[in-house]
Amino acid sequence: MKGFSRMRKDIGVLTVGSLVLVGLLALVPLTASPAGQKGNETKGKFYFKQNCKSCHVKDAQGGEITPLSKTQAQWQAYFAKGKHMKGTETLTKYLTPEQLNDALTFLYNHAVDSPQPETCGK
């Protein structure tokens, strides 16, 4: 429940002026996409795969990372911190802020506790 309220705050910040967010607890995760993150999900997936996946796959140094690796709240916290390699470097080393937002949108929308965990349809 704690993670939940925190998330709610964050989203609140991110979606000021968003038509859809009525602030109802129930609606938060539903409106999470696309209104949850204003970034571009398709592009986010692209950047994530192109940049992160090089190290973050099974048995690679970074260890496997997928959207399911974290909850929506955790993803937001992680990107808010923007730290990489145990904090030794910043994410901006790899992606522009805009690209990062896109990546976050993708990861957030398919996070382990998201409404669309498994990629749709398949």
């Binding site: 859809v20 607890l25 129930a26 609606l27 938060v28 995760p29 539903l30 409106t31 996409s33 696309p34 571009n40 999900e41 398709t42 592009k43 997936k45 692209f46 795969k49 192109q50 099974k58 399911l68 382990v112 506790d113 409404p115 669309q116 965990p117 498994e118 749709c120 349809g121």
Partner: protein, 725 residues
């Protein structure tokens, strides 16, 4: 075989082929004797596409003619199996009703006046029409509907790159409610380890008749060789019923009552897996409290199954745990609260702790495939026309909700949709309430269809872009997740017989003309090369070309998720008996029973089902399959038949709220007296599908109704009047 025999084989396809081929290569027919010179006999492994099951097969090809399709035993899923449809694949390739060239409509829609055009002309026309719609209504003014295929993604990508949020797929006409119920409970849709089960309860899903898959094979083996018990609920005496140990002609729409009563017994008598429930599940207390009200006696009233049977089945079921399962199977939504019934099943499976155990439910394992990275496009800005977020907040975004979408499009709400691209789908004869589908189709400024045969939808299209059949096509590699995940490969076994193209080339053709080429600047070969990189072998492509399928010996694996720290992909991270997400979305977090609508006096409930000869509406025109059921009949029980004075194979009229048809009666004791049944895929508009025109179409009768949560079309909510004519 003598020459006469040789020619006569045409019925069987094989020589039809030589002739067609001869024709295709512009070779004069008298030269066709050439084909008699014994050509080398090739065995080419590839993957079936006669239904969605993706069985591996080996095509026997001689002189550029497909002689026979044999099963490929190397696939641990389909093993040495090829069903009737699979064997009839030859007839899809050599089907005279195939679309042999791009065609454009010259007369009115559905008038059947066509002109054969060049690909350039057809693609220019398509692109120009799509742009015109975009011009006027924005990209969201186009609708992109498609069904599953290895290449479907290219079609959907085109729709998205074009800027339309409106893609609609088959699940809401199919297993949407199952998928959603299991996802919300376990965070994923598991497979059922039928092969090792000891006790199987199946309701609705008619898995020995409707669809021949590995589960079918395992089901037969389990119930015969390993003496597993099969309890089967169905208003109809199907072939599954014939093989079941117990068959109960349950009152339609009351399955949930049966399930809730089982929960009531199993929890009430402390027969559930306490350790499993306390370790992995959440919301048990509320569940226990909730099912107290649903006693076997109460359920007996609802289901018309005596309470002593319900009681016994519940006990036997929990005794057999964890090698017991309430089989979900592949099936459609039947009632407006179909989703709750699925949830009930999922919960029942959960509390006996059959999760991730041998003979229970197992989360699907995967084989990693590589992915070709292509330039991403901007996400569509407009909301979906079916207003998913408002109507079905939990439904899968990419799939859409077909019937809701149709309502909105017809109403022009929230915005007009005037362009319709259809791939490998036949909404006109496939979807309930045909009049509405036609209404939706008629209000379109443009309808483009990509298909292999002149489907009813193609019949009403403005332009038809013919796709090559699966035996003529190179497809992306496909990974089938499951207890034994496999990677299957589809390679062309003959050159295209006619002026057809694989979908990717069609998509690229349209994309080029819409200036979207940058998103599709790759070849099928490049795409596949990227995919197979991830396979654990050197020369993976050669391997697939040779074997047609790859699977790893490390499967099956049980219990990978059975560690206390495992986080299920649900809101709470646990198996949610009480679903947080349902609660948040304002639905009942626990399945609540709502009795089905009573059958009005003098009417019948129209129940549907599939037969494994026919893949939905698509294979009824292939003579080898059609010969098993040359026209659909209306099953009606002798008692009502007598009182209506209807004799077997008499013509009768069947009328519902949305239409009426003429059809032959089949008086049989194999169905409940309050139900009637008919097959799907007949009564076509398209005269090209001559064999399938006989009998009426269920799509004309079925009324618009959907499952409240998943949006899946509710197929058993239609009541019909039957009378002699």
């Amino acid at each position: 075989m003598n020459r006469r025999g040789f020619l006569k084989l045409a019925t069987g396809g094989a020589v039809g082929a030589t002739l067609l081929q001869a024709e295709a290569c512009g070779m004069p027919l008298r030269q066709q004797k050439v084909a008699k010179v014994p050509a080398p006999r090739l065995e080419i492994p590839t993957t079936c596409d006669m239904c969605v099951n993706k069985c591996s097969l080996i095509a026997i090809v001689q002189g550029g003619v497909v002689k026979k399709l044999n099963p490929n035993p190397e696939n641990p899923k389909s093993r040495g199996m090829l069903c009737a449809r699979g064997n009839a694949g030859i007839q899809q390739l050599y089907d005279p009703a195939r679309i042999k060239h791009p065609m454009m409509r010259t007369g009115e829609r559905g008038e059947g006046k066509w002109k054969v055009v060049s690909w350039d002309e057809a693609l220019d026309f398509t692109a120009q029409k799509l742009s015109a719609v975009k011009e006027k209504y924005g990209p969201q003014g186009t609708l992109w509907s498609s069904s599953e295929s290895f290449q479907e993604q290219f079609f959907r990508n085109l729709g998205q790159a074009f800027g339309s949020p409106n893609s609609v797929r088959h699940p809401t006409l199919c297993l949407a409610s199952v998928n959603l119920a299991y996802s919300l409970t376990f965070g994923t849709v598991p497979s059922f380890d039928v092969q090792n089960a000891r006790y199987i309860i199946m309701s609705g899903a008619n898995r020995l008749e409707s669809f021949i898959t590995p589960d079918t094979m395992d089901l037969v083996a389990s119930t015969t060789d390993r003496k597993a018990r099969l309890v089967y609920l169905d208003p109809r005496f199907t072939k599954t019923a014939a093989k079941a140990d117990e068959w109960y002609p349950i009152r339609p729409g009351t399955d949930l009552a049966f399930i809730l009563a089982m929960l009531n017994v199993i929890i009430g008598e402390n027969r559930y897996d306490k350790e499993f429930v306390s370790t992995y599940c959440s919301g048990f207390e509320q569940l226990a409290e909730h099912v107290k009200q649903y006693s076997p006696d109460w359920a007996a009233e609802e289901t018309q199954i005596s309470s002593k049977h319900i009681l016994r089945v519940a006990r036997e079921f929990s005794d057999a745990a964890p090698r017991a399962m309430y089989y979900a199977g592949r099936r459609s939504s039947w009632y407006r609260d179909d989703f709750s019934m699925r949830r009930g099943q999922a919960i029942l499976n959960a509390i006996i702790g059959n999760w991730d155990r041998q003979g229970g439910m197992v989360p699907n394992a995967k084989v990693e495939l590589g992915e070709l990275m292509f330039l991403p496009w901007d996400d569509p800005t407009a909301p979906r026309v079916d207003e998913l977020d408002r109507n079905f907040p939990l439904a899968a975004k990419g799939d859409g909700v077909y019937l809701r979408l149709r309502e909105n499009v017809i109403a022009g709400q929230p915005y007009p949709v005037k362009g319709w691209m259809v791939y490998k789908q036949d909404p006109v004869s496939g979807i309930p309430d045909q009049d509405k589908t036609l209404q939706m189709l008629r209000q379109m400024d443009f309808v483009g269809v990509i298909d292999i045969q002149m489907s009813d939808t193609a019949w009403f299209a403005d332009v038809i872009l013919p796709e090559s059949t699966y035996l003529e096509r190179l497809d992306p590699v496909e990974m089938l997740a499951g207890i034994r995940p496999v990677v299957v490969y589809r390679q062309p076994v003959v050159k295209p017989l006619y002026d057809t193209k694989p979908l990717l080339e069609i998509v690229q053709g349209v994309a080029k003309r819409l200036n979207l080429s940058q998103y599709f600047d790759y070849t099928m070969e490049q795409w596949i090369a990227e995919q197979v990189k991830a396979l654990p072998m050197d020369l993976p492509l050669e391997y697939l070309k040779k074997h047609g399928v790859y699977s790893s010996a490390q499967f099956p694996k049980y219990g990978t998720t059975l560690t206390p720290d495992h986080r299920f992909v649900t809101k709470s991270g646990k198996i949610e008996l009480l679903s947080r997400r349902l609660q948040e979305a304002g639905y009942d977090p626990l399945p609540i029973y709502h009795p089905p609508t009573q059958v009005p006096e003098g009417q019948f409930r129209l129940v549907l089902g599939r037969h494994a000869f026919f893949t939905h509406a698509s294979t009824t025109n292939y003579p080898w399959l059609n010969s098993f059921s040359t026209e659909n009949t209306l099953w009606i029980h002798p008692k009502p038949a007598d009182s209506l004075g209807i004799k077997d194979s008499e013509r009768i009229e069947v009328a519902s709220g949305s239409g009426s048809i003429r059809i032959k009666a089949r008086v049989t004791p194999k169905i409940r007296p309050d139900c009637v049944f008919m097959q799907h895929g007949f009564g076509k508009h398209s005269p090209w599908l001559r064999l399938a025109n006989s009998g009426g179409s269920d799509a004309q009768l079925l009324e618009t109704a959907w499952d409240k949560v998943s949006g899946g079309a509710a197929m058993h909510e239609t009541f019909v009047k039957v009378r002699k004519v």
